[in-house]
Symmetry: T
Subunit: 69 residues, 12 copies
């Protein structure tokens, strides 16, 4: 809420279960190395198909975090 | 299906549970005051992150309803 | 991974349950008549509203498959 | 032309006759309840098909009007 | 309104008369070979010019129809 | 069809009658000073409203013509 | 931060001074009648020209506010 | 140039050589089964990377052809 | 407000001072050679950076003017 | 790098050889009559097809040049 | 101007004063850790509202810099 | 193909030779410091002009790689 600067990175998470889970996986993975994750925005929802079923959900998101000065 | 006029409003629903739930919450809230809600279209899916997890799903949608003449 | 040519078709799947299910239904239906479905990409998420609730989720997707030469 | 503030609303008009008529119908309907309508901009042109013919033209437009201070 | 799957095709209709007529022509032509046409959405309006006049209106539209299962 | 170069200009035509007429007016006006007009593409359809009616249709189009070498 | 629903309205503010001032004017005008304004997003920056100078800046913005349940 | 109706299909061609070649391959493959191919428009240029080099160029294009009545 | 035709040109103005000033500079420059400038619309805001500061603001705008018949 | 104003024009170059060549042709043609061409940006890549091959590559580009004051 | 490769990062700067200042703040902050910043491009202008006033301007920009090889 | 997370970076490669070469140069440069590069997608094709010729091709691409967990 102050005069922070934020940086955005773009990630694709994947999941065999659901589109929401692909988002959760990307955020969990990013939080291992980046502190201060604040928000995300979905930019693309895709997936791979095998045997007439969704084999992997793949969701691309921008994730924003505070740059520490 | 007749020569109706429809109006669209834009809402953001939120949920701690899922992206679909954020949509359901926005529609439930809008239906308290607007009659004749007909359809919706998702325009943005975002969320807040806390402790490396999705704290809130926030989905923006356009909602259309019949204007009564 | 070779010099294949892919064709894309655009479908809208629907579901009374969830947005992910509307995607699964479209892919299951397409796989009845098209072989070699490879991937999908969501282009629109909409739905019908009845009684202040989501009556049908309707998700439009592009689906790609290998053209056999 | 002064320091007015304008508000925009989004409407879909329909017509069995033509796309222009769908626009005219939306504006006529809106002008029953909103004063000072100034301009419109078409954002989408769609329609329903029945028996291989256009049954209804449906045109979505943004309509702007002066907020009175 | 049930759990149908819809397919979309993209067509360009042309007319020497008007932009609406180019749409009607595309739909009439498509309905010769595709049953269950439901809706259309205009994606592009173009035309050819000859002698300082519109020689042909060319309107591109997506047309949706029910896939029969 | 040869190795021509084309130039595009952007115009807004207006008409009190119809959206198609606004396009015809822009092309007629441009053809007074530019030779070899070939095609047009609509980029925006707007209009002014007066007394709850469309006072002027305003259609913006790109117009292409052959550069003479 | 809770399970609120937000509504967005679209406004155009104008100013003879600057583009930022056009935004400030739209927000000041909206806050006379709407409580709980939270954020804005600029969607278009335009203006009128007179005598080779900017006569009016006109900035269109979406403004979001909390729906009270 | 007459009142033809055109249909568009979307393809992705691939090539190990160049982006133009991926386009040529898609068109050559499509022309095996579709007559009257008229034009194409590139909508996406992607590729796979292996060992720090472009392994495959993949170009997506819309291809238009005349519907025979 | 009559059946005028307008032409649009696209310019990039630059300024060492501010983004609004880059717009004012482009319009002042254009008004030296084009009469009847009516309106502008910003399409891009960029700039050059030197020594960690904005060295030049560069704003691209469409400018519309009346074609005299 | 000073407070220059730039103007952009939109051209389509064509070539029977390659997409890059269509760009080179458009720039060569434009440089016959416009001085100070600075940069280009591709906005569309299309082409004509004959006998299952690319007959003409057609690339549309914006070209920017310095306005001399 | 040589065969450099550039990398782009996306930042959001904020300011209580003006939209231009939010850009300046983001660039100042980035230049603490990244050398060779060359240009920026604004992709979004937003802000927070408090008490009917702009509390924070938040401008998102892409910033490009030279990769040193 | 497993539950990997991918990260995307945006680069601009340049070349005096061709647009494809600008892409190859960006990927070669990125592969010096980033392992597991998987795919790219072109987002912009630009260039500098000198003496009526393309002096530098500049192609912007997103490049995706696997995040190692």
């Amino acid at each position: 809420m102050n005069e922070h600067t934020y940086k955005h990175i773009e990630l694709t998470g994947s999941s065999t279960t659901s589109s929401d889970d692909a988002i959760r996986n990307a955020i969990a993975q990013a939080s291992k190395t980046v502190r201060n994750l604040h928000w995300f925005e979905v930019t693309e929802t895709r997936g791979h198909i095998a045997d007439g079923k969704v084999a992997h959900w793949q969701v691309t998101l921008k994730v924003g975090f505070t740059l520490e000065g």
